[in-house]
Assembly symmetry: none
Homo-oligomer: 156 residues x 4
């Protein structure tokens, strides 16, 4: 009992008080990125996606894992990576930013990031540990569905 | 029997199976790019185009052949190349992307490519082997007509 | 016999005469890119590489497949992709360009591509069908060894 | 026995197994960045630095804290941030890269990062949790000394 408490206390301390100089967190490993990728590819195939590029980045927006399914247009590679980067660095779905632009806030274009739906953060324990970006599926909506399927995996 | 098998094998090889490590394809030669260019220039002259830049790129979006007709404004050079690049790397007409933006999906601007009509893929055997881009004709519509005339050639 | 000749003739025609408007070629599929990647990763692990990023691009320099092994520094992602792109678009090993710079032709730096060893073209049938780039291994030499191991696979 | 097992399990979890999908790590908080900054400023003042810019970034290379001391030249702001970014994203001192270039590997210039001494990673528990970059002190050597003093703090 006491041990359980001590471990809990240690974890709590590690998780960081308001004045901590470092905060405990998690980062996506290649294994985790592969799990996200697999879920996305499985969804894409089950839903007749004609192809597409899928990118998984870490919390800093740097690429961890990528694949371009046969038949996908070449530009989808860059677009998928940029969507993932947007979701990681803004810590929410890129769709939120696309919707804001299409809804009238055109000035967001000046930020210089790719603000198109299809980028979704990957969470663990409530923290953003990376993001997935998809481009080149049947439609922009399907890009997002595939990314959402990838981000929905339970990481361990 | 053996012949049928060989033909089948050849077809199978040409089409590329799901597990093939390479897929047979075609690429535009300079000779082919010249044929595309000639058809575009012929159309431009027959339709009183005041000039314009015409660019032909390969399937990877890299320039193969380029001409700026006398009287064309200097910026048309870059714009024509970028339109061709867009059509090659997205594997469809750049007009589709321009129309989406003008129709309200302003967020596409953030992708950073030139999404203006006048970029058209060049096909052979159903595959994109390159693209043509035109800028600086009488109007944006004519840019596209010239590009379309170029892309319509039958390559051999 | 006659059939064999006809098939040969068909292949010859497809391969393109000097005046052909299209030339038959091959492109790396995702399956082929995976084979290149697997050979590179196997070599890296067998030779105690501490990690590294591995990128496979198509002949146009566009990303097909990528992975960053755990422990690799984040910048290795971009560097690996750029090395692969250099090898694909120049059609030879990036080391040749690095050596030229280090040997005194500093002006090559102005080209704007990443000219560091570790980018190697992937060939099929004597044609460049893509390239592999590696960054973040034990040393620059090992980056190149891993890339070379990847590019050495026999594609089918 | 059970306790030993639990502790072992906790350690194992913290270190991350080869097949874990997430790895436990730490990130620099603003409080921690401030401690790094304070140590750097203290060193700069104690050593008659005429000023300078000091930047602290997280492990992904994104800015956390920045100060330009009075009298520092404006460009030092950008240079300090870039040095810190280099140290974070390459996971070692930027001096190592500057030395390689000055020692003859000029090709490293093509990577496009700022490879100048004065960028130093900040570690916690053996992991890179961020970096500090300094520009505009008395000399390039002093830039590095100040950055090293900042990175030497014991974070908690």
């Amino acid at each position: 009992m006491k041990i359980k408490f001590l471990l809990l206390a240690a974890l709590f301390f590690a998780a960081g008080s308001a004045r901590a100089q470092v905060a405990a967190t998690y980062q996506l490993t290649l294994e985790g990125a592969q799990k996200v990728m697999d879920a996305a590819v499985t969804y894409a195939k089950a839903n007749q996606s004609p192809g597409g590029s899928i990118a998984v980045v870490d919390a800093g927006g740097h690429l961890l894992l990528f694949e371009r399914l046969d038949g996908s247009f070449p530009a989808s590679a860059t677009v998928a990576i940029e969507k993932a980067r947007t979701a990681a660095l803004f810590k929410f779905e890129s769709k939120k930013l696309e919707d804001a632009i299409n809804g009238g806030r055109d000035a967001l274009i000046t930020v210089g990031f790719t603000f198109l739906q299809g980028g979704v953060p990957v969470l663990y324990n409530g923290q953003v540990v990376g993001a997935i970006g998809v481009s080149g599926a049947k439609s922009a909506d399907q890009d997002r569905e595939i990314a959402t399927a990838g981000a929905a995996v339970q990481l361990q």
